[in-house]
């Protein structure tokens, strides 16, 4: 950004100094410098005695499109000039200009530049960018069994299309920004006018504009630069690959961001409980949806506390163990030479290792590794007397439980959270766990996402927003949008008429 501003300034200064020549030589200069790259092509053609240059990056354009729509059109022209060409080439994104910055920017985006020998300073820019990239595919990270099977790809236009298909309304506003002095990443900020709190959109745009970093390669990368608090384990912006999730967030009055060349879009502001919601919850009847959501939250609590509790109870609070379990627990620990903490760390770290390795390896190898690691190493560790089999069960279950969060980043946070609790448990047993929990509680209370409290609706307490938090109550109760978003239009459905007067009376 810094660079760009500089160049603009210098060019305007030069223009002031002496008008025509310098400016024109600028374009030529540009082409000269571009030509030093081997994949930049300067093709010279001649028709009807008029020489012309076609210049482009071989690596950025679609060659077929170039032949079909540009090169084969030129011979059909009656007269060679840029205006004529512009009119007859069947591509809509064309421009005639002689401004260096525009030319440079467009060529870098996959346009070709056509210049006539007569005036080498004026270019016709035609968009023949190669549409390389994958097709819209099934979601990988946020797979849902009963939800749409479409996921974002690494192209901003396709992604925008996926969202707009779901929200065909003129109020859906897209503001496009560019960040990254090197990567020049396009960021589209989406919101629905009339619903969203304008302040939120402004904050997002403000923060994106404030980013001063050379390279932004992915949505999550960008998200970190927009966080309110950088030293937290918790994701403050929700990144998703599901267009339906973005659509639903927009309808609730949130702001979404779609980033070019990234298959994950961002949602802000978010609350903690949102990370335990899958889109499937809305596609199921409310009872199973709520049950599964509670299961997920229970799993998360279990995942954080199970191993620390084991360590605390076995290290300090033997009194708590019921007499029927005592035999089982102590027997399984009999041969183990370490303290419970070492034993637990050993297993926790090996499970983390398995996870990390399995996510780096190719799918097939990864699967084998998972099975081999899980069964063989675990069993061997028990037999060798390094860990107790009860702990093995606990650790395996809590690792499993940490994967139930629909948002992968939250799963990471939860897996890491376990370790401070483990240390607390080792130092002061149950009291250590309690104190760590209060620390965590404080941290969560302090966290904000785009200035909105993260722990809402628990604190600040908004009873109305509980409808879609721990449980999801039936849709006909979804009358208003979340309070914490301070939406302009809060109504989600008209108040139902006294519908069909409840006339059951045991079927009369």
């Amino acid at each position: 950004m810094f660079n760009r501003r500089n160049s603009r300034k210098s060019s305007s200064q030069q223009m002031d100094m002496d008008d025509g020549i310098n400016k024109n030589s600028e374009i030529r200069e540009l082409f000269n410098s571009l030509s030093s790259s081997y994949d930049f092509i300067n093709h010279q053609g001649c028709y009807n005695g008029v020489g012309y240059w076609v210049s482009y990056y071989r690596s950025l354009i679609d060659a077929q499109e170039l032949h079909r729509s540009v090169l084969s059109v030129i011979p059909t022209l009656e007269q060679i000039n840029l205006e004529q060409m512009k009119d007859s080439i069947p591509i809509e994104d064309t421009l005639i200009t002689s401004t260096r910055i525009v030319v440079e920017k467009r060529i870098m985006r996959g346009h070709i530049a056509i210049r006539l020998d007569a005036n080498l300073d004026e270019c016709l820019l035609i968009n023949v960018v190669a549409q390389q990239g994958r097709q819209v595919d099934k979601p990988e990270l946020e797979f849902g069994i009963i939800s749409p099977q479409e996921a974002f790809v690494e192209d901003i236009d396709i992604n925008l299309n996926l969202v707009r298909k779901r929200l065909p309304l003129p109020e859906l506003q897209v503001t496009e920004l560019t960040v990254g002095s090197l990567s020049k990443t396009k960021v589209a900020v989406l919101s629905i006018d009339g619903i969203v709190d304008k302040a939120n959109v402004d904050t997002v745009i403000q923060r994106v504009n404030d980013i001063d970093f050379d390279e932004i390669l992915d949505g999550s990368h960008l998200a970190q630069m927009l966080y309110d608090d950088n030293s937290t384990l918790f994701p403050l912006f929700l990144n998703t690959e599901r267009p339906d999730r973005i659509a639903s967030a927009l309808a609730e009055g949130k702001v979404a961001m779609i980033i070019d060349r990234s298959s994950s879009a961002l949602i802000a502001p978010t609350i903690l409980l949102e990370y335990f919601i899958t889109m499937e919850d809305y596609n199921m009847p409310w009872i199973p949806a709520s049950a599964f959501r509670l299961l997920r939250i229970f799993a998360v609590i279990f995942s954080i506390f199970a191993t620390p509790l084991y360590v605390a109870v076995l290290t300090y609070h033997y009194e708590l163990i019921p007499k029927d379990l005592l035999e089982t627990i102590v027997t399984s620990r009999n041969l183990i030479p370490f303290q419970p903490l070492i034993e637990a760390l050993f297993l926790e770290i090996s499970i983390e290792l398995l996870r990390e390795a399995a996510s780096r390896l190719p799918t097939k190898v990864g699967q084998t590794l998972g099975i081999v690691g899980g069964i063989v190493i675990g069993q061997a560790a028990v037999v060798a007397g390094l860990t107790s089999n009860i702990l093995l069960i606990i650790v395996a279950l809590s690792a499993l439980a940490s994967f139930v969060t629909p948002i992968y980043k939250m799963g990471n946070a939860i897996r890491l959270l376990r370790f401070p609790f483990l240390i607390g448990a080792q130092i002061w047993g149950l009291l250590g766990i309690t104190i760590s929990a209060v620390f965590l509680m404080t941290h969560l209370i302090k966290l904000t996402s785009m200035g909105h409290p993260y722990l809402e609706p628990i604190y600040p307490f908004h009873l109305k927003d509980w409808k879609d938090s721990f449980i999801r109550i039936p849709m006909n109760f979804f009358k208003s949008r979340p309070i914490n978003l301070r939406t302009e239009n809060t109504k989600r459905q008209s108040t139902p008429k006294k519908n069909a007067i409840k006339k059951n009376d045991f079927n009369e």
């Binding site: 609070h317 708590l320 019921p322 002061w428 149950l430 404080t442 209370i445």
Partner: protein, 362 residues
């Protein structure tokens, strides 16, 4: 001496319920039955109700004071007594809050020592608590309110213990009623006052409440809940213990939990003691916050400096003076003197302010 708090940092009026209730419930609830049973026995419930009534009156006084002079106690003292004497009284309040926080912390550490870890030095606990308190305090009053609110929310399930204990209870222990003289009952009221204090923190956090007038009913609600809760615990203790046993037991509420046996937990009292930390932490935090905020307002310094200083004092007390004696001295300061100070000073303040206001108008 006037102050304006940004709307952004204020809390909704209904949180006053939780602030008052969580501040009142703390260390006292674990042990008040003993002294109360000693003096008043089966008629302790009258003392509790009486103490509750006094608390309601004091809350009314506090709100009345603030309706005349908006702000906090420091502003009011200034208006009532002028700069010098006003500051002196304000300083007393700062000291009072500091000692309150210190007492709560030392009492809890003593419980931990007796029930769980007798080998850990007290300063080690207090250091961790102080770090935690500082961390909460840096979040401002909203965070403190959040901790108070959540602590009430996540600890109320413990009440099942008292229903469990009823299995082993003898209901005739509740009888006879009206067995004690007025003097006994007054003595009981005094004994129960340590449990009931905590509402006076309103004096400091009052300006942090949005629409403060509307919060009065929540403050009364919080105090009422505490009164009923205390009453409930006292009744359960009476029927659970025989009178002699109750007088002998130092922490009747804690000892009571040791009767609970669940399928997966053999000894519930350890869970109870550790879970009680969640109740204790907001108590300490709010007291220290109030003390340091008072100092900030008095001396016009950043709040973190008094907070650091007070933390250091508490740490030093824990390093050098930690024993049962020091706890007793502290409790003595809070119990007759602190309570009497509050009880006498606040109504007096109201009268003085009332008179001043009238005179100004005339």
């Amino acid at each position: 001496m006037n102050l304006l708090i940004n709307e952004k940092y204020k809390v909704q009026p209904f949180y006053v319920f939780f602030l008052v209730h969580s501040m009142q419930t703390g260390i006292g609830v674990l042990s008040f039955q003993r002294m109360l049973a000693k003096s008043t026995g089966t008629d302790g419930w009258i003392s509790i109700l009486l103490a509750g009534l006094i608390v309601h009156f004091m809350i009314w006084v506090i709100y009345k004071i603030f309706s005349i002079v908006p702000g906090d106690i420091i502003t009011v003292n200034y208006h009532a007594f002028g700069k010098l004497i006003g500051s002196f009284f304000s300083l007393l309040f700062v000291l009072y809050f500091l000692i309150l926080g210190l007492t709560v912390m030392i009492s809890y550490i003593e419980i931990i020592h007796v029930w769980m870890f007798e080998e850990i030095p007290a300063w080690s606990f207090s250091l961790v608590f102080l770090i935690l308190i500082y961390y909460i305090n840096t979040g401002g009053f909203r965070t403190i309110t959040g901790i108070a609110f959540l602590s009430v929310l996540v600890t109320y399930w413990l009440i099942f213990v008292f229903f469990y204990a009823m299995k082993y209870s003898e209901f005739t222990n509740l009888l006879p009623i009206f067995d004690h003289s007025i003097l006994d009952i007054w003595e009981g009221t005094r004994n129960v006052s340590l449990t009931m204090i905590g509402f006076e923190l309103l004096l400091i956090f009052h300006p942090f409440i949005k629409d403060a007038k509307a919060s009065q009913k929540y403050a009364h609600g919080g105090a009422l809940t505490t009164t009923l809760f205390t009453l409930f615990i006292y009744v359960v203790s009476l029927i659970f213990y025989s009178e002699k046993q109750l007088v002998m037991t130092i922490w009747p509420t804690l000892s009571m939990t040791s009767i609970v046996e669940l399928a997966f937990i053999q000894r519930f009292e350890y869970i109870f003691v550790t879970w009680w930390a969640i109740i204790i932490i907001p108590n300490m935090t709010i007291s220290l916050w109030a003390a340091s905020r008072g100092a900030k307002r008095l001396f016009n310094i950043q709040q973190k400096y008094p907070l650091w200083g007070m933390s250091l004092i508490i740490l030093m007390v824990n390093i050098f003076f930690f024993d049962i004696d020091s706890l007793n001295i502290l409790k003595r300061i809070i119990d007759p003197y602190g309570v009497f100070f509050l009880g006498a000073y606040l109504p007096l303040l109201l009268i003085i302010i009332h008179i001043k206001k009238k005179r100004n108008r005339l």
